[in-house]
Symmetry: C2
Subunit: 329 residues, 2 copies
């Protein structure tokens, strides 16, 4: 019922709606309305309650709870099954369990806090409460395992575009899986899969976005290379707006990918916002480090480099680590 009250208040945002009107609309007593609104105020909703005029929603809190997301969500596949946790170990872990239990494609797991957030290769990802977007999406595309990296590119394109659209920041993409603002990492993408030898069962794509994280919340060892949207734009941003924009763009790009079997649209975005292309990079593989120039992305999102002998080589995401020569980017 909270959802219906919230929906009615939002439709009239900034204007008063009487307790009686709410009561008739939703079909419960005025006392029940009053109790729910009291609870919502405790949850952080700024609501005016004036006798003989009724209730007026001034401002929602920065929450990612289901009601808030569902009321404004416009997608039909991505987020059609939405699961929210105030706190969880890792949204990717939870998504794996959900997928193993049969959760449908498009399921989104979102948490207000991760207590065991992970980056690539099991590295820790700090995910403090209430200040970031810690989210995973379950997908079931027809892909071979080696193609899973396409989903990373599609996600990077979605996140960078959404951050730019909502906040006006200059989000860039460090190939293959980091989103960058001012040469610092604002978001990491972790793509995992369940697969047979030649076909993907499902893909989990997780993202951790530092939205309103303060610099001092980052562990000391990453402080010089981590940033948040807030640090870049100078004020707090509603996480919900970013989540909804990511899901909207992601759905567009994903459905286009499924329909046309091509991620060229995503790659176009990754090229445009790339902070890697045109720069000197170090290609770090298991047994050696090679210096090269990042030249372009292929239509499948693989990196083309010019090696020291002047030849063009293709780098497949996941095989190597790519770093700038002088700093993090």
């Amino acid at each position: 019922m909270k959802k219906e009250i919230l929906e009615a208040l939002k439709q009239n945002k900034g204007k008063f709606i009487s307790g009686e009107e709410l009561s008739i609309k939703i079909g419960v007593t005025r006392t029940a309305i009053w109790k729910h609104i009291k609870q919502m105020k405790e949850d952080g909703y700024d609501i005016d309650a004036v006798s003989r005029r009724g209730y007026r929603l001034i401002q929602e809190p920065d929450t990612l709870e289901l009601n808030e997301l569902q009321i404004d969500m416009k997608t039909r596949l991505i987020g059609s099954n939405l699961i929210y946790y105030p706190s969880i170990d890792s949204t990717n872990n939870e998504a794996k369990k959900e997928a193993a239990a049969g959760a449908p494609e498009g399921t989104v797991i979102i948490a207000d806090e991760q207590t065991g957030g992970r980056g690539r290769l099991g590295r820790q990802w700090v995910s403090p409460k209430g200040t970031g977007i810690w989210m995973s999406i379950i997908l079931k595309p027809e892909l071979e395992p080696a193609e899973a990296a396409k989903i990373t590119q599609l996600t990077a394109a979605s996140v960078a575009t959404a951050l730019r659209n909502v906040t006006g920041c200059e989000a860039g993409i460090k190939w293959p899986n980091d989103i960058i603002i001012n040469k610092k990492k604002v978001c990491g993408i972790l793509t995992e899969m369940s697969a047979e030898l030649n076909s993907v069962n499902h893909i989990i794509v997780g993202m951790g976005i530092n939205v309103n994280v303060d610099p001092e919340e980052f562990p000391e060892e990453v402080r010089s290379i981590a940033t948040s949207v807030k640090e870049s734009v100078g004020h707090e941003i509603y996480r919900k707006e970013i989540v909804l924009e990511i899901l909207r763009i992601f759905e567009d790009l994903y459905l286009d990918f499924i329909r046309r079997k091509s991620i060229d649209k995503s790659v176009g975005i990754c090229r445009k916002y790339s902070v890697t292309l045109g720069n000197q990079v170090r290609i770090i593989s298991k047994d050696k480090v090679v210096y090269a120039e990042a030249v372009d992305l292929t239509e499948d999102g693989e990196l083309l480099i010019r090696n020291e002998a002047g030849e063009i080589e293709k780098i497949i995401s996941g095989e190597v680590s790519v770093r700038g020569v002088s700093d993090y980017i």
Copy 2:
């Protein structure tokens, strides 16, 4: 306590042990011993009970229950965590859930019946009650996703060797993942993985072995290409003996693989028992069928073929399907 009674009876198999001796050894009353033995007889154990002489184990039933397996198991990693189900949808599915929940490497899931057994690409695998080995192993090797096929080869080597050792049958290996007797399939291997783009989180290797399955239990559409160990050797075989032998050989080959980072021992076995090598095969990929001669396996278990132009090509497991030209093999 059933395990202790069973262990004592087995140590004295064929000989009498008195109720009093059992009672002292295990530390329960003679009435409790009598009750447990009554239950064991109902479970299919052939036990003589003669007054003034005691109890004598004549024969165990063909069961894969934990007590039976654990008492005789000699491995230290593979099967160190053993989970048995009288009936389950699919041991691979269950293994995935266990792995997602943190089950350790070497966990083995075994079921007396699968109600939703799967082969590759979600194909049905008939797994009737009490007559086959439906088993999955959880592994956590340091591998890239493209190397997961090595585990298939290692498993094929283990199963073929175990079937030969225990039953004397002439089990062959149809590259990459089928065990064959008399040109018919007796076992399929399904390797699945959870992975990041460049590193495997865990591998689930499942096997379905038709041990005592009668030909009429196979669905009509596979009857001409499916067989069982029983059909080949002419009598029923204790499944437990095969399971224990598989786990023993698997552990040897797997620990050797981990230690030396090479599956050459497994590949040697796969070569020796191969029914593919030396034969004409059809290489079936997404968009075409090519005829070739299967020539050899590489050290990594990939298939080398001689194509129609006379050139040697490498076929990576999972990319294509390999069939004999004239029949199933």
